[in-house]
Structures are given as C-alpha cells and as structure tokens.
Point group: C2
Chain length 346, copies 2
C-alpha cells in the first residue's frame, strides 16, 4: 500500500502552488562527492579587517559608529539603487526589460564579531526584530517601494562573505516572483474560506503534530509538508498578521525566543554553526490592505547528512522539479528531539 514514508511521491506546496518530488527510499545512497570544509569556530569578538565591526572602515570610506546593539546602513554594493532612471525595452515582444529601483541595506545584529543568532541573548535578538519593524516603516515612506525583503545568508557555503552576524534588506519597486506566487495562493484561499491559508494549515499541523518542531503561545516552528531542503523549516505566528510591524511587544519577544531556540536546534544537529538562508515573507507595501497575507519566516539550510555534506539542487532540480531524499517527517523528528539550549551554552 502506498505510504509517504516509504514510496516516491510529489507533494503540493500550498504557498507557491508547485509540487515537490520526495524520494524517501533514497536515504541509503552513499556519498562520494564534494565534502565541504567546516567553518572556523574561534572568531574573536572584534576583527580589525571586518567591515561590520564597530569603529572599522567600510568600502565606501565611511567609518562604523561605536554601536552597542544592532546597526543598519545602505549596502556599499547594492543590487538596487534609488536613482535608476525609468525606462523599458521591448523588441518584438521577445526581448523585454524594465528599469528596477530600490534600496539595499545591511543590518549588523551585534557589535560582537564572534556571535551568531543562536548565541546572542534574546534581548539582542529582540532589538534586531525592532529594527526590522522600524525599517519596514521607514523604507515604505518611499511610495515607489512595493516590497521589502528581509533575509540572512549564514555561512560561507550560503554565499555569505563575512561571518560577522548580519542580515540584509532588499526593497524594490515591484513585487518579486516568490512573493507574487504566495500572494496569489493566499488570496485564492482567503476568498474561498475567509480565513488565512496559513491559519488553517498551522491548525492542521498542530492536530497532526508530526512536523511540528516547536510550539509556543504565539508562534509555531515546523517542517512544511512540502519542504524542499533537508531541514527546511518555517516560523509562523498563530495570529494572522500581514506584516511584521503588526506584532505586539509580547509577540516580538516571543519571536526572538523562537528564533534563538530554532537556530540553536540547528547548531545542535551537527554541532556546527549551521548554514542557511532565511527570510521573512510578508505582504507588499504601499498597496492597500492584505487580509489574506499571513507573514512567516522561511529557513532554507543546505546540509543533508553531516556538517560537511550538503544537498545539491542541480541537474534534475534546476531543469525539472525540486527533489528531496529524506522525508519532512524524518527531519522534523530529528529537530524536535534536540535541546533548545545551544551546545556551547550547556
């Protein structure tokens, strides 16, 4: 009899409408391929060559202030700029381009070069969340901005060029692809049921329990039924909110605790500073109300079998379909069983 724990199958991603191929029987595959190097694990609290440490010089010649909490500045190598001229190209409908404007910022999470989210105090993480919320409000003052993407690349295998704890914000004058898909899916659901898609989804997961990693009063962390990355997770607020700056003070603190606990579990998995790209999906800005939107945070970590063997999203995945080898249920079980206290803090 068909079982999602044993047999190959596809699963529907509710947020994008796409299907993911799952091959549970493939865990036995031996790995003879690339072995990643471990990240250095003994960074000093201050590094004179780091462009994010307090008092240091940056690429554009500016000097960082002697900041004590988090610190935000415009990216010295922004992919989007505020002064790009308007314009477009259209050759026979076949070559189509449109000017893109926006702003890219960098947020240092702490002056301490040696830290990461799971090893920072909850109070510091709460200040990062406050800063994210403040940036949402201030960046949206520019009425051209339609979407604000908050994210973190962590670890050099995730293209992060500096280990100092930091994240980024890229804001732009259009709604990016992944957010458009989620808008469409959530809108369709809301128009049918008058509840947000993620409220109903989270309630179903809470009944099932199988994919829940952490549950607190205000937030749930789970491995989505349709997860692509081996240990992919999602943090979802129980209360539907379109954007992060709708959180109460209590909820911000609860989110900080959830962030610390989830990322500590990640580090505890292979006893390594766990690499990932993570980011918040929320409603577009400067475009009315979004009752269908339920903000959430995705974590896409690449590691599969150990601290040095990652999942490659290559040939088949690039050309055909996302594919995973271990089941989301298996990954959730492993993450659930780990302590929320960081192995270095025990």
């Amino acid at each position: 009899m068909f079982s999602i724990h044993e047999h190959a199958h596809t699963r529907l991603n509710l947020l994008t409408g796409d299907w993911v191929l799952v091959s549970p029987h493939r865990t036995k595959r031996p790995w003879q391929g690339k072995v990643e190097t471990l990240p250095a694990d003994n960074r000093p609290a201050y590094d004179a060559t780091c462009y994010l440490c307090p008092g240091n010089k940056r690429a554009d010649g500016a000097t960082n202030p002697d900041y004590t909490d988090s610190f935000v500045f415009v990216n010295d190598f922004s992919a989007l700029l505020t002064d790009t001229p308007d314009g477009d190209v259209n050759i026979n409908g076949l070559l189509q381009a449109k000017s893109a404007k926006g702003i890219c910022k960098v947020i240092s999470f702490s002056p301490d070069h040696s830290k990461t989210l799971p090893t920072l105090p909850v109070s510091t993480i709460a200040k990062v969340i406050d800063l994210w919320c403040a940036e949402m409000t201030s960046i949206a003052q520019d009425k051209d901005i339609q979407y604000i993407q908050i994210f973190e690349n962590k670890g050099d295998i995730m293209g992060c060029s500096n280990p100092h704890p930091h994240g980024q914000i890229w804001a732009q004058n259009s709604v990016p692809l992944e957010v458009s898909k989620e808008t469409k899916q959530q809108q369709q659901y809301y128009e049918r049921y008058w509840r947000t898609l993620l409220s109903d989804y989270v309630n179903t997961e809470l009944q099932q329990q199988e994919r829940i990693v952490l549950e607190h009063e205000h937030f749930v962390a789970l491995v989505p039924f349709w997860a692509v990355w081996p240990f992919e997770t999602m943090i979802v607020p129980k209360r539907p909110m379109a954007q992060i700056n709708e959180m109460t003070q209590d909820e911000r603190l609860a989110f900080a605790i959830m962030l610390k606990e989830l990322t500590a579990k990640y580090d505890n998995l292979f006893h390594v500073s766990f690499p990932y790209s993570a980011g918040i999906h929320q409603a577009p800005v400067n475009n009315g109300q979004h009752p269908a939107w339920h903000w959430h945070m995705h974590f896409y970590p690449p590691l599969l079998r150990s601290a040095t063997v990652k999942k490659f999203m290559v040939g088949y995945e690039m050309l055909a379909n996302p594919q995973r080898d271990v089941t989301p249920e298996w990954a959730a079980e492993r993450l659930r069983s780990l302590p929320v206290k960081h192995y270095k803090e025990m």
Copy 2:
C-alpha cells in the same frame, strides 16, 4: 537615459514567464567569500575505484561490460522507481501528496575516465546523442511515462559525485514544473502566431547578434536575454522540432559539433574543466503532438569571476527573485571571443 548595460532592471524569461533582476553596476563588488577548490586535472584513463569504468563492479553488485563507446544502465540509487504503488493523500486540501513513478538511468559517455565532453572526439559525442535518442524511444514504450529529462551534472561543485564523463536520465509519470511552464509559454505563443516561440526568438537574436556565441547551419548557441547564471547559455536548433529524436543524421552530427565547441569555450574561459548542470528540454511523451514545442538544451554554469569564485543563488534569490550581476551581453562577448578549440588540444 535608461540603459540595460548600465542600470538595474528586470528581464522577461520568455520560456517561463518569470522576470530576472539584472544589476550591471554590481560587477565592482569585491569578493571576500568562499573560494572553491580546483578540480583535479590529471585523472587516469582507467580508475579501479570508479563505478563507471569498464569491467568495474557497481553498488548493486553488477559488473560493467567492457564497453567501447557509451554505456547505459538503471541508476543504483534511483529517485524514481517503476514499481511504486499508486495512491494519494489529501487532508483538508492542505496536505496533498500523490505517488510518483518512473525510471532513472546513468549514461557513461566514454570508457575513458580522463575525458569530458569537450575533450571527447565528435564521433563519440554523436554516439551519446544517438543513445539519448534511442532511450527516448525505448523509455516512452512505458505508457505511464509522461516526461523524459536528459541532463548532466559536471564538476563536484555541481553535486557530481564522480568525474567519469557521464550524464543521467530521469523519466516520470508526470510533467515536471519547469517543463510545464515552458509548455504553457510556448503553447500561448504558438496559438497566437502559428510559429514556435523559439524560432522567432532565435531570429531576433540572430538579427541583434549581441548574445550569439556560435552559429552553425543547423544550431545556434546563445546567452539568453533572460539568463540567470553568469555564463548561462542555450543551444537551439534552427528548425523547430518537438523532441530530439526528430533530428536527421546531419543534425545529430551538427549537434555533436556544437556541444564540443560550446563546452570547449567554457573550459577555455578560466582554463579549468568548467562545471555546469546542463539538460535538454523537449515535449512531453505519450501525449499526442506538440507543434508548439521547440526542443533546446540549457547550460547552467555556476562560476562567476574565476575558476574558484561562483555565483551564489541564496537569500534574495531563494526568497524573492533570481538575480545576476553581469549582463548577458558581457558574458556572450567573453564566450564569443574564445577559441572553439580546447586549450589542452592546442
């Protein structure tokens, strides 16, 4: 004035309908991140530990024959199996899964462990193409199969676990995501103009010349206007054909020559065996005629600045939108200027 050579913009991918963010001004970004190790460059013609070399044992206990050209067998760790039971799951419409069936094969391109596509003779590449065509026909005998994905992962940074020249075929009982998108886009165009989208696109590119890398009698190699990877290219037959086994003998030979020349240019770029994932997109099988489909081959190579610095598709790209730093025109110019003769064969 707005210029796609200078200013940030988005470009339409005709084949998927998605937009790509291009940031031409960002080339000056210094790189302080991950430096990849170079692939070993002195492999022997025979490796006793390689599961693809003639006469060697494979994981399932089988012994490879003493083959002289190419050699195909069922993947010992297939993601898709032929005997998966039918079935599905649907919990409140929120947790949806369907059984997936198919077959995964491995194709060794040559008995010689030390070779790669660009260093193999054209006659050997032509035999690989013949084998691809024969596999199309034989795999499609199983009426459950709807799509046959032919691809190659090359280089350990592309998740390839064995440097022996080889590719894969994954065939399945559904149409994968990327192929569905291309079907929809090509269908829409065809119903409007009664010509294939890629015929008109290639003609426009041939008029413009800017993004053409190679042009022969039967095939064109170009950097697509909407390329995401720094040196992404596409090989397109000038004559519309839905599937590769519609090629004449002449066209197969021409395709072999194009494959050798394009991959030799790639190796010549940084004087390294150039990593990539490449694969053929063509019409689904066992589902009637597909006059709108124009088969083509995509090359997605990760390298950006040198043999050791790649482009990371991470945070913003995973959560928001594909993004690139150099223009497709700049990449095409670099590839065009390189010799078609491999640097090791000069």
